[in-house]
C-alpha cells in the first residue's frame, strides 16, 4: 500500500497541534504515514514530527524559500515530493486551505475539503451548506488531496514515535510573491481551535469595550479562549480570527459558553460538536437554545458577572 504524506503545520521551531489530528486522519487512509516539514531552520519541528506515534518517516525540506510559508513555494515543494504517495493530507487551517488546492490543481486532481471522516481510502464525509448536510464523496483521482477538519479526528500521541528524518532540498522561490509582515495577536490565553473551554460573545455585547469588560473575566476564570459570532465580528466588537462559524473557525471544546449569541445556522456550524454547550440569552426564542445543553434565559450583563463570582 502506498504511503500517505501529511503536510505539517508548524512555526519552524515547534509543531502545531493540528498536525497531530491530521496524522490520525492520514493513518486511516492507507499505508505508512510520512510527514513533510517544509520550513527554514525547522529542525525543531522536524524532530517533534519524528516523535509522533504512528509516523514512519519525516521529510524535512529546509530553505529560505520556505521561511514564510508562501503558498506558491510550499505547494511546489509538496508537488515535487508527491510521487509515490496515495494521499496528500493537510489540516484544514488557514495555511492548509491556502496550499492544498494549489497542489491539487498542479497535479490535475480534485481536492476534498474539510473531511470529517475517512469512510474508505477513496471515500470521505464532509459537511456542506454550513454543516446542514453531510456529503459522502468518493474521489476517482489517483492521488487524493485532502484537508481534514481537526475536530473530526483525535490527536495522535505527540510522543512515543521514532521516525527517521530525511533532509531534502528546498524548492526555488517562485518569484511571484513575497512576505511583507505579520501582525499576530499575542495570545495570553489558549488558541480557539485547541481550547478546552471557549467563551463566545454575540451582537448583544453591544460594543468592543463591553465585549472585553464582560467576557474577559469569565474567560480568565475558566482559562478559556475567547470567541465571537460573525455578527459580533462584523460589528467590530471582536477581531476576525475570533470568529466561530461556517466562515470562521470550527471548534469542539469540552465546554462552549455562548453569551448573547442568537444561534444563526452559520454560527452553529462552527460549534455544535462541542461536548457541552451553555447558552445565555434573554430571548427565550433564540435558536441557540435548541442546541444548548444548559440554557439560561437572562440578561448576560448581569448573568455573566454573577457566573464569574459563582465559579
Amino acid at each position: 500500500m502506498a504511503a500517505v504524506l501529511v503536510i505539517a503545520e508548524h512555526d519552524h521551531g515547534t509543531l502545531k497541534g493540528a498536525t497531530l489530528n491530521t496524522v490520525t486522519a492520514a493513518a486511516q487512509c492507507g499505508g505508512d504515514v510520512h510527514v513533510l516539514v517544509a520550513g527554514q531552520n525547522a529542525a525543531g519541528a522536524a524532530q517533534a514530527a519524528a516523535q509522533i506515534q504512528g509516523v514512519a518517516k519525516v521529510l524535512h525540506a529546509d530553505g529560505a524559500s520556505l521561511a514564510e510559508q508562501l503558498a506558491e513555494n510550499v505547494a511546489a515543494q509538496v508537488v515535487a515530493l508527491s510521487g509515490g504517495y496515495s494521499h496528500l493530507v493537510f489540516p484544514a487551517t488557514a495555511h492548509g486551505k491556502n496550499v492544498a488546492p494549489r497542489v491539487a490543481a498542479l497535479l490535475d486532481v480534485a481536492q476534498i475539503s474539510d473531511a470529517t471522516k475517512v469512510v474508505a481510502p477513496d471515500t470521505f464525509e464532509r459537511p456542506i451548506y454550513a454543516g446542514n448536510a453531510i456529503a459522502t464523496v468518493q474521489s476517482a483521482d489517483k492521488v487524493k488531496v485532502i484537508t481534514v477538519r481537526t475536530t473530526g479526528f483525535d490527536p495522535a500521541a505527540a510522543t512515543g514515535g521514532s521516525a527517521s528524518v530525511e533532509t531534502i532540498a528546498a524548492v526555488a522561490d517562485s518569484g511571484r510573491s513575497a512576505f511583507v509582515g505579520a501582525e499576530i495577536a499575542k495570545l495570553d490565553r489558549p488558541e480557539l481551535t485547541v481550547a478546552k473551554i471557549i467563551v463566545s460573545g454575540g451582537r448583544a455585547m453591544g460594543s468592543s469595550e463591553k465585549f472585553a469588560e464582560v467576557l474577559t473575566p469569565l474567560a480568565d476564570k475558566l482559562g478559556a479562549a475567547l470567541g465571537a459570532s460573525r455578527a459580533a465580528v462584523d460589528a467590530g466588537y471582536a477581531p476576525n480570527d475570533w470568529q466561530v462559524g461556517q466562515t470562521g473557525k470550527i471548534v469542539a471544546p469540552q465546554l462552549y459558553i455562548a453569551a448573547g449569541i442568537s444561534g444563526a445556522i452559520q454560527h452553529l456550524a462552527g460549534m455544535k460538536d462541542s461536548k457541552v454547550i451553555v447558552a445565555i440569552n434573554k430571548d427565550p426564542e433564540a435558536p441557540i437554545f435548541a442546541v444548548a445543553d444548559y440554557g439560561l434565559e437572562a440578561d448576560l450583563f448581569s448573568a455573566v458577572p454573577e457566573l464569574v463570582k459563582a465559579l
Partner: protein, 249 residues
C-alpha cells in the same frame, strides 16, 4: 488594467436547506438564490479599485446554469462593465471552474482576478487557489485589504492568529474574506443600467475545457441532531450542573 471577477449563484445565505429524502442532495427547488456573499465582496472590491482609477474595466464571470445571468446582472448593477456566462447544466466542481476561468483569463488577459474565498453551498474554498496554480500566478487568499500599485498587489490576509501582509506580482489572484469591504446596495437606476450592459454566453466546449466531475457524491445526509437540553432557572443552578452533571469545570 482589466480585472476579472468570478461570481457564483448559490442558495441564499438566509435559507436553511433541507436534505432530500432520497439522500441524493439538498432540495433547491423553489429556494431563493443569490450571489455568493464572498463574491459580492469581490465585485465590490473591483469596483472600488475602478473608482480609484487602478482598474479600467471589470469583467464578471459566472459558470453554471442559464439563471446565472441574473447573478451576472447583479454584478453589473454593483459596477462590473460586462459579463461572461460559461453556460452548462452539468455539475461543476472547483477544478473545472478553475480551468474555465483560466481559459477566460488567457483570452481576456486580465491583470487581476478577484474571487470569493469560499462558496457557501459546497464550502470548498478551492477555486481561487486552483486558478492561480493553473495560470502559474501568485495568490493572496482571504484578503482583508488590497492595494494595487506598480505592477504589484499588497494584500493583507486573514490567517490563524492574526494578519499577514504579502506582495504579489501582477497578474495575480486574490480571494476575499469578510472584512475586505461592505458591498454597496444596488440602486434601481443601476439595475436598469445593468440590463443594457453586454453579457456574452459561451459553452465549456468553446473554451476547450473538460468539466467532467472527479468527485462523486455517494450520499447526502442530515447531520446528527443535537437534542436541546434543559433551561436552568439561575446562575447557581447552572454552575451546579456544570460541576456535578456535566463535570466540565
Amino acid at each position: 488594467m482589466k480585472a476579472l471577477v468570478a461570481v457564483k449563484r448559490v442558495v441564499d445565505y438566509n435559507v436553511k436547506v433541507r436534505v432530500k429524502s432520497d439522500g441524493t442532495g439538498v432540495d433547491i427547488a423553489n429556494v431563493k438564490m443569490s450571489m455568493n456573499p464572498f463574491d459580492e465582496i469581490a465585485v465590490e472590491e473591483a469596483v472600488r479599485l475602478k473608482e480609484k482609477g487602478v482598474v479600467s474595466e471589470i469583467v464578471a464571470v459566472s459558470c453554471g446554469v442559464a439563471q446565472c445571468q441574473e447573478t451576472l446582472r447583479t454584478a453589473m448593477a454593483i459596477g462590473a462593465d460586462r459579463a461572461i456566462l460559461v453556460e452548462t447544466a452539468d455539475e461543476l466542481q472547483p477544478l473545472a471552474v478553475a480551468k474555465l476561468l483560466k481559459a477566460l483569463l488567457d483570452k481576456e488577459q486580465a491583470q487581476l482576478v478577484i474571487l470569493g474565498k469560499q462558496a457557501i453551498d459546497d464550502d470548498c474554498n478551492q477555486t481561487g487557489q486552483m486558478l492561480a496554480a493553473l495560470a502559474g500566478l501568485g495568490q493572496a487568499t482571504f484578503a482583508s485589504k488590497v492595494e494595487v500599485a506598480d505592477g504589484q498587489a499588497t494584500v493583507t490576509r486573514e490567517i490563524d492568529g492574526g494578519l499577514e501582509t504579502i506582495r504579489i506580482k501582477l497578474p495575480a489572484v486574490v480571494t476575499t474574506d469578510l472584512r475586505l469591504n461592505e458591498p454597496r446596495y444596488v440602486t434601481l437606476p443601476n439595475i436598469m443600467k445593468a440590463k443594457k450592459k453586454p453579457l456574452e454566453i459561451v459553452k465549456p466546449a468553446d473554451l476547450g475545457v473538460d468539466v467532467a466531475p472527479r468527485i462523486k457524491t455517494l450520499k447526502v445526509a442530515e447531520p446528527p441532531k443535537r437534542g436541546a437540553g434543559v433551561k436552568v432557572p439561575d446562575v447557581a443552578t447552572l454552575v451546579a450542573k456544570l460541576k456535578n452533571e456535566a463535570k466540565v469545570i
